[in-house]
């Protein structure tokens, strides 16, 4: 699918409560501004690197908005900043991962029910299945959602996870953001057959392709999958067709591998613009709302930016603090060596 093929009308918000559609817009806008801040922070040398989610806000916010943050659990990879935001994760703690203060971030993943940032493509997907199985073993109400990319779908772990989920009927949603690129490799050189959703049938589970620029469609698809999982219907694959309009990361140079015209075409299907128009069309929001949303988002981002910029470096002793829950004498000895020779 390319940019043009998608429904030109934009999101249909008629099935979505107005307050929810507004809050999704607010989250998308906030994520966009925070993404810009993060890129700026990288340029200023505060972040060693950053991975932008620009263009994927509808896919992330729409899916995350469907979660019940009291019962569900999301397993991200590394580009899910807008999911974190939507779920109410402490964004200073989230961005701390990009400032390289702590690999997994400094928020509490157990309390926020948004797993730690995970740099292994495909790696967290089986965790979502394990978590979901754990929920069904105690007849709990929660569902897991695993976020991964089109590139990640090539990894063995994703297959093994889907097969386990199918066999166990685990309440899990496999949410693939097919942003058309895995670093420099386009989806047609990555995903045999061209569709991640099409893999689902082979595991006897539903596979849904959804316009990832359409926040309403993403929300509805995720909600349906979660409802199905909660009702004992087992796993679903959702493939949100979207686009990584920015470079893979701030260190990347897409000029080497793709046509800027493609980027431009997708930038025109900007999910935030589309959502704004839909809100206007549906009469869910007026200029005051958009102004307030922008003001609020800006304030939020400034606070997050300052928060992460001013966050202290981890203590050197933190090297040793969390290796074990029950520390060993051998490691304590090494900590003494560290204290004597390096730190604190």
């Amino acid at each position: 699918m390319n940019a043009e093929e998608a429904a030109p009308a934009g999101p249909d918000l008629s099935g979505i409560p107005p307050e929810l559609s507004r809050s999704m817009y607010r989250d998308m806008l906030t994520a966009r501004l925070l993404d810009d801040e993060a890129i700026a922070l990288q340029r200023q040398g505060v972040f060693p690197a950053y991975v932008s989610l620009r263009g994927q806000e509808a896919a992330q916010v729409g899916s995350a908005a469907a979660l019940d943050t009291a019962t569900d659990f999301a397993f991200p990879t590394y580009r899910e900043m807008a999911v974190a935001l939507t779920m109410g994760v402490d964004m200073v703690g989230y961005l701390a991962s990009h400032r390289a203060l702590w690999h997994g971030g400094l928020y509490d993943p157990m309390e926020s029910r948004f797993g730690p940032v995970n740099a292994v493509v495909g790696g967290p997907v089986p965790h979502a299945v394990g978590w979901a199985l754990g929920e069904s073993l105690r007849d709990g109400p929660g569902c897991a959602i695993a976020y991964f990319g089109d590139g990640a779908s090539s990894e063995g772990d994703v297959h093994e996870a889907m097969n386990f989920a199918g066999v166990f009927g685990a309440p899990v949603v496999f949410f693939c953001q097919n942003n058309q690129w895995a670093l420099s490799v386009p989806v047609e050189a990555q995903v045999a057959g061209g569709s991640v959703a099409a893999r689902a049938a082979g595991y006897g589970m539903p596979g849904v392709r959804v316009d990832g620029q359409d926040v309403a469609a993403v929300y509805e698809a995720t909600r349906a999958a979660l409802r199905r999982a909660r009702d004992g219907g087992g796993p679903t694959v959702i493939e949100a067709l979207t686009y990584r309009v920015n470079p893979h990361s701030t260190s990347d140079d897409p000029g080497r591998y793709r046509d800027p015209a493609e980027e431009r075409r997708w930038r025109e299907r900007d999910p935030i613009t589309l959502t704004r128009r839909a809100l206007e069309r549906a009469g869910h929001a007026d200029t005051d709302f958009f102004d307030a949303a922008e003001t609020g988002a800006r304030a939020f981002c400034e606070a997050a930016r300052d928060g992460v910029g001013n966050a202290p470096h981890p203590a050197g002793s933190d090297l040793f603090s969390h290796v074990y829950r029950e520390p060993t004498e051998a490691l304590r000895r090494q900590q003494r060596v560290w204290r004597d020779e390096v730190g604190p």
Binding site: M110, V129, G130, A161, F164, S321, E326
Partner: protein
Amino acid sequence: MTELAVPADQAATATETSMQQAVNAALRTLLAEDPATLVFGEDVGRLGGVFRVTDGLQAEFGDRRVFDTPLAESAIIGLAVGLAMNGWRPVPELQFDGFAYPAVDQIVNQMARMHYRTRGAAPMPITLRLPSFGGIQAPEHHGESLEALFAHVPGLKVCAPSDPADAYGLLLQSVRADDPVIYMEPKARYWNRRAVRLGEPDLPIGASRTVREGRHATLVAWGAMVHRCEQAAELAAEDGVELEVLDLRWLKPIDTDGLAASVARTGRAVVVHEAPLTAGLGAEVSALVTEHAFASLRAPVQRVTGFDVPYPAGPLEPQYLPTVDRILLAVQRTLEF
């Protein structure tokens, strides 16, 4: 099955216990004492495991607590990680040592560091049971020794019992621990029975056990090689050479003090393992002994190990594994140094 003869003084009697039974009993105890404990893996449910180590557990605890998984090692560990994050205490089995390799990413990049990554937020009390080591003339990939790989990985603890009593105690310790543990079961010792009492762990995690006292040199081993060292010590005693045999038990953390204390007394050490020589755990033992007992050390630590070759097929197994003769030759070298 095993090529190690059962010594006469350990001949089977009705009340004696094999390691396979001891591990089974420990799993039963653990499943009974904590409803969060789960046992799963390939063929561990209905079949009771290829070594019958999980025999009867599914019948007793139900198929929610003890269950078969599809055949995918990486997902088995990934599943354990997710279950742990949801409050469970997983005890996955990987069927054989050589089939842990497909799970190395989930073990190293995920299980071992999820606790660290989350600054202690995510609990990770997983015990990976891994039938390990050689000596049973098995097919390829069924005789590997992965302790050096795992001991190198931050965040893991690693142990290997050498007899039924330790198998029981160490498994209780491993599963109750709130950290990921690799529990390596020496297949070659599954069926050897000893008249032992299965009871609570006797020593803390990381403590070694002196299997036999001696004053001329220290033999250091774990798993099935402990028994082989005992045999060597027995023979050496006939010539008046008194060998101390130290069962390391814990391969991470290693009992540095115990090692150093023994070598401080004996002045000499021979470390024995099945894994290939280069970068095997014997190198770590050698380095630790040298670092902590250099002044007492009267000869370089000797390593008696498998060779740097792939684990061979049946008839070559006795040529590959450390023999009693090779252990005694190493003892002689260190005594004559």
